[in-house]
């Protein structure tokens, strides 16, 4: 085995990376997820090119128009183009979900590493903080925070961080505990590496994989939190388009026209499904226990 390894080292590595992608693409749900996520991402990035109208331009005469060539999803109670609002709403949804998830990861993993690698008392103190934060019900927390700082995107992001970061921190901590006594860490310490060095170059790469996958599966939850808070009027302020607020407007005028509700709901379903499929496919692809069976 040792001698055969010497003949194909680079090729083998390459093949492993390629096979991970191929495994992802060999799964129908993975492909669907990837396509949906890419589509939403592209729409968000190129929103001004995709949307044919200004999402906040009022046209009271054109209220509640059904879908047509001019207005792909019709118009809402103020005559605004729903398609344009949905397209611009994707920017809010993605920036909040990706940004908040990234921040939660950053904060959670850092504190988790510190808790797992640091002294016992610090670990206990941080665990107490994680558990206290996790025990807040999300909706109550959202209401309380908004009362405190007013409805805004920052409030949404803060709610997400407070509810998501502690679970990432707990995961990072547990994984760190299982790696910190590995012999290669001891070996590295006896070769003179300091704590920072060991955490950054040896522990982090060993623990980050599973956490990233869990985070990717949390993204749809964050999309839903943002939509939900905007629906309740706790998130994005009007007239900025958000899928949640489109849904809320449509909800108030549902007797007049069903299109605003459909326009607000559809992208939420597409996006959450896309991220969920992709996350699950990623998990299966990188789970060594499942890898053998396919």
């Amino acid at each position: 085995m040792a001698s055969s390894a010497s003949e194909i080292p680079a090729a083998r590595l390459d093949r492993r990376r390629r096979s991970a992608l191929r495994r992802l693409l060999s799964e129908p749900l993975g492909v669907i997820g990837l396509v949906l996520v890419l589509a939403v991402l592209l729409v968000a990035v190129f929103a001004p090119l995709v949307a044919l109208h200004n999402p906040i331009a009022l046209a009271p005469i054109d209220r509640f128009l059904p879908p047509s060539e001019e207005h792909l999803l019709g118009t809402d109670h103020l005559g605004r183009d729903l398609f344009a609002r949905v397209v611009y709403g994707s920017r809010i949804a993605l920036s909040v979900s990706l940004g908040a998830t990234l921040l939660s990861l950053l904060l959670g993993v850092t504190t988790g590493l510190i808790a797992g690698y640091g002294p016992r008392w610090l670990d206990n103190a941080l665990l107490l903080v994680f558990d206290a934060l996790k025990s807040f019900p999300t909706v109550m927390l959202a209401l309380a925070l908004v009362t405190l700082v007013g409805p805004s995107l920052d409030a949404v992001i803060l709610v997400v961080i407070i509810s998501a970061a502690p679970s990432y921190a707990r995961m990072a901590r547990t994984q760190t505990l299982s790696v910190r006594h590995a012999e290669f860490v001891l070996a590295e310490r006896s070769l003179g590496a300091g704590s920072g060095r060991i955490i950054a170059t040896h522990i982090l790469p060993n623990i980050i994989g599973p956490i990233l996958i869990v985070a990717s599966m949390d993204i749809p939850v964050v999309v839903a939190i943002e939509a939900g808070m905007s629906f309740l009027g706790l998130g994005v302020r009007p007239p900025t388009p958000s899928w949640g607020s489109i849904l809320n407007d449509g909800f108030s005028y549902i007797r007049e026209s069903p299109w605003p509700v459909i326009a607000g709901g559809l992208p939420i379903i597409i996006t959450t499904l896309g991220f969920t499929f992709l996350g699950e496919a990623l998990r299966d692809t990188f789970d060594p226990k499942r890898a053998g069976s396919r």
Binding site: M1, A2, A5, S6, P9, A10, R12, L13, A182, E183, F184, L186, A187, E188, R189, S190, L191, G192, A193, G194, R197, T201, H202, P205, N206
Partner: protein, 326 residues
């Protein structure tokens, strides 16, 4: 004699436990001259690992050094602050651990790890890479440039152990501590690894403290040996005299138990009857008295001293008291 590369004098190390202080090392004295290979041999639980941790100052939190001195080339290690000690590790002292399968980070390539531990050198990336390649070549790994791209799981145990040795010797340390580096390898690889260590030791000129419970390996590699039992060095001397004329009954028994040295086949492997003494409540006299076939009255009275004998030897046994040099 020149200043020894490593000098340990009357080291006492204890662990705080719920039952009380556990005296893991007692009055351990040891010297390794520059360029010398000294073996430490003893059964499991004799304090070998505690000793290594104490030298590196990587002890568990409940360990206390109660007495003694550890000096690296005359510099008192116990007096150093934590940061200076950290800078010394991997630079002037290096370690090779027992299990090559777990001593490398599984998610980083060999090259990344080998270049990474050179962070103290003020060298460019290509220079560090060249150095890593050179070290792999020195441990006789074929095709080192390509090896750097590979991950630990792509190597066999013997190759990994050579990589670990290459990493430990990267900074050309004054002292290499080898903690049973061949225990996890099979017999042929064991021999090859010993030969490699010998060659590298000649090239680099470092001193080696070689810890093992394998008498054959110690005999093959070391100039001198210290035999440890229950936290004490019971006998020390150059390899030939200790193996041919052991001065401590424990050494004698240990040699008798080595299957490779048994004169004839027997149905049962010989063992030393009895158990290790309780290190929390130490026996009054000699720690080996309970298991010693030669024990007599004084052995159960006071612990024997470490008697210096002719021929640069020493033994912690009343049988040697008569010949002790003052």
């Amino acid at each position: 004699m020149a200043t020894p590369a490593l000098a340990i004098e009357h080291l006492d190390l204890a662990y705080r436990t719920d039952e009380g202080m556990l005296h893991a090392l007692r009055d351990v004295s040891l010297e390794v001259a520059p360029g010398e290979i000294v073996g430490i041999v003893g059964e499991s639980g004799c304090g070998k690992s505690s000793l290594i941790q104490a030298i590196l100052r990587l002890m568990p939190a409940n360990a206390v050094i109660e007495r003694g001195r550890i000096a690296l080339a005359g510099q008192d290690l116990l007096a150093l602050d934590a940061d200076s000690m950290r800078r010394l590790r991997g630079d002037r002292i290096s370690v090779v651990f027992q299990d090559p399968m777990t001593a490398l980070n599984p998610v980083l390539s060999i090259g990344r790890q080998m270049m990474d531990i050179q962070y103290r050198r003020d060298a460019s990336q290509p220079a560090k890479r060249a150095r890593a390649v050179e070290m792999l070549r020195r441990v006789r790994l074929s095709d080192p440039e390509r090896r750097l791209e590979q991950y630990p799981h792509e190597f066999s145990g013997g190759m990994r152990q050579r990589i670990v040795i290459a990493m430990a010797l990267m900074a050309e340390p004054e002292l290499l501590i080898a903690d049973e580096p061949t225990t996890a390898l099979d017999a042929t690889l064991e021999l090859a690894t010993i030969e490699l260590l010998k060659t590298l030791q000649r090239e680099i000129g470092c001193a080696i403290l070689f810890v093992s419970h394998h008498l054959g390996v110690i005999a093959e590699l070391c100039d001198r040996v210290s035999v440890m039992y229950a936290g004490e060095v019971v006998e020390t001397g150059d390899i030939r005299s200790v193996f041919h004329q052991p001065r401590h009954p424990y050494t004698e028994r240990l040699l008798a138990c080595d299957p490779a040295r048994m004169a004839e086949r027997s149905r049962r492997l010989p063992t030393i009857p009895g158990e290790l003494p309780d290190l929390v409540n130490l026996p009054a006299g000699c720690v080996f008295a309970e298991r010693c076939p030669a024990a007599f009255a004084p052995c159960r009275g006071l612990p024997p001293e470490f008697y210096r004998l002719a021929g640069n030897r020493a033994a912690r046994c009343y049988l040697s008291r008569g010949e002790a040099l003052s």
